[in-house]
């Protein structure tokens, strides 16, 4: 080994040390990774089955819901209730939100996924937007499919999950926030584009508004009155 140059001794030693180090790390991570992969795969399959289960349940419940509504409609017609009473009921149910509605309105899409957005859309922003839309005379509003009613609270759960009517509305793909608003199209468009859109755009978000005929789902929660008693029976 006399032929080895002394100058070479240092780099070779370094390389050898680095190699040994890397090999040991590699062996370790490989072990960890395969174990993690195993766990992760197990979890994924479990999660997928749970998800598909609940999705199936969801479709079933929705069809049940539709069938029941139709049966109810038929039952009402059969017994022949006063049509004026029914009209009043329908009107009230649109206001309280338990009735799905359709009509002209605007569709607002807000995208805050861009990297140059310093503060993503928060609950306060959503509340402000809703307030402005009500100011503009909105008749029905939904955020990502959740109907906004009088007693709707928009709150944060954890650090980033937004709850509307106690249901998380965050989306994992597609446009993050879609608001459907039914009402006078010109007023809604005017008020939103002048009062709210500029602020959102200033915050780096992408905002698009389009006039459309929309269908807004009903409020799926329940009203409960435990403490409040009606004044006039």
């Amino acid at each position: 080994m006399k032929r080895w140059h002394r100058t070479l001794a240092l780099p070779v030693t370094m390389v050898a040390i680095a190699l040994g180090f890397l090999i040991s790390i590699q062996a370790q991570t490989q072990k960890n990774v395969s174990a993690a992969e195993q766990i992760s795969a197990d979890r994924m399959t479990q999660m997928k089955s749970v998800l598909s289960n609940s999705l199936a349940q969801n479709t079933k419940l929705q069809t049940d819901h539709r069938v029941l509504l139709e049966q109810l409609d038929a039952a009402r017609k059969k017994v022949g209730t006063d049509p004026q009473l029914l009209a009043e009921l329908a009107q009230l149910q649109m206001v309280e939100g338990t009735q799905a509605v359709e009509g002209p309105g605007i569709l607002i899409s807000i995208d805050d996924r861009d990297k140059k957005v310093p503060f993503p859309l928060g609950t306060d922003d959503l509340a402000t937007i809703i307030n402005t839309l009500k100011f503009a005379g909105a008749e029905a509003i939904s955020i990502n499919g959740q109907r906004v009613i009088g007693s709707t609270a928009i709150v944060l759960s954890g650090s980033s999950t937004i709850l509307v009517n106690e249901v998380p509305i965050n989306r994992t793909e597609g446009i993050p926030y879609e608001l459907m608003v039914i009402g006078d199209q010109d007023t809604l468009f005017d008020y939103f584009s002048k009062l709210e859109a500029p602020n959102l755009k200033l915050g780096g978000m992408t905002v698009s508004i389009s006039r459309k005929t929309l269908k807004i789902a009903s409020y799926k929660g329940t009203y409960t009155f435990k403490q409040a008693k009606p004044l006039t029976p």
Partner: protein, 236 residues
């Protein structure tokens, strides 16, 4: 630096091995990371469907109950009237009374001095909205501010010196009444922004008062005519 063939090849092999190992290391790290991400994205949609399912099943039960009443042959008109009463209650067009909270907010009696921000001496519409949000979150059953019932159409909009609520001009003091479980209402209120108002009270002298009352009377809201929205069938 002079090296013979063997040395050079040795170094070469070592370098290649090093690079190779490094790449494998990076790759395995990446795989582990991406899998975690996939899992995380599946969670919210799962929670979402679960919640929706819960809402739907409650709703379905309600419908079933109603349907069974029809099947039992109850008088249709009585039933419809019952429903109408319920819908009126939900929509907030019936005055209600019950135990609840009274919150009073008022501008500061003191004027801003020197560098102080005069905006911190006034009650803004945002505070009122924040309080509403907290109260609804705390399970409030009915809310009114300065005698204006808060319904689905109620706006609380800052219009300069006054706040527009239900299309009327409202000036301070703002008295917010809410009916519900007073404990949960207070807890929700304290969870959201109540302390920030407390700071304003201490430093700038705004009024922030919370009273628990045995009986609060909340007036009926007005029903607005809808021109655009029409009832639609549920579903896709």
């Amino acid at each position: 630096m002079q090296m013979d063939k063997r040395e050079r090849s040795l170094l070469g092999v070592a370098s290649i091995l090093l690079g190779f190992l490094f790449i494998i290391l990076l790759k395995s790290q990446g795989v582990a990371g991406s899998q975690l991400a996939v899992q995380e994205t599946a969670v919210p949609s799962l929670i979402q469907t679960e919640q929706e399912n819960q809402q739907l099943s409650v709703d379905n039960e309600k419908l079933q109950l109603e349907l069974s009443k029809y099947a039992q042959g109850q008088s249709a008109t009585t039933l419809a009237n019952q429903q109408l009463q319920e819908a009126k209650m939900n929509a907030g067009v019936i005055g209600v009374s019950g135990p609840g909270l009274r919150i009073t907010l008022d501008d500061s009696k003191r004027a801003a001095i020197g560098q102080e921000d005069p905006m911190l001496f006034l009650i803004h519409e945002g505070y009122i909205r924040e309080i509403f949000n907290a109260l609804w979150n705390g399970g409030a059953e009915a809310i009114a501010v300065n005698g204006q019932r808060v319904t689905t159409n109620t706006e609380v909009y800052c219009s300069g010196s006054y706040i527009q609520i239900n299309g009327t001009r409202q000036m301070p003091p703002y008295v917010i009444d809410a009916i519900g479980d007073t404990n949960t209402l207070s807890a929700a209120l304290k969870f959201y922004g109540w302390f920030r108002l407390g700071d304003l009270q201490q430093q700038n002298g705004i009024t922030r008062k919370l009273e628990v009352l045995n009986n609060v009377v909340i007036p009926a809201g007005k029903l607005r005519d809808y021109h655009s929205a029409k009832p639609a069938k549920e579903g896709t």
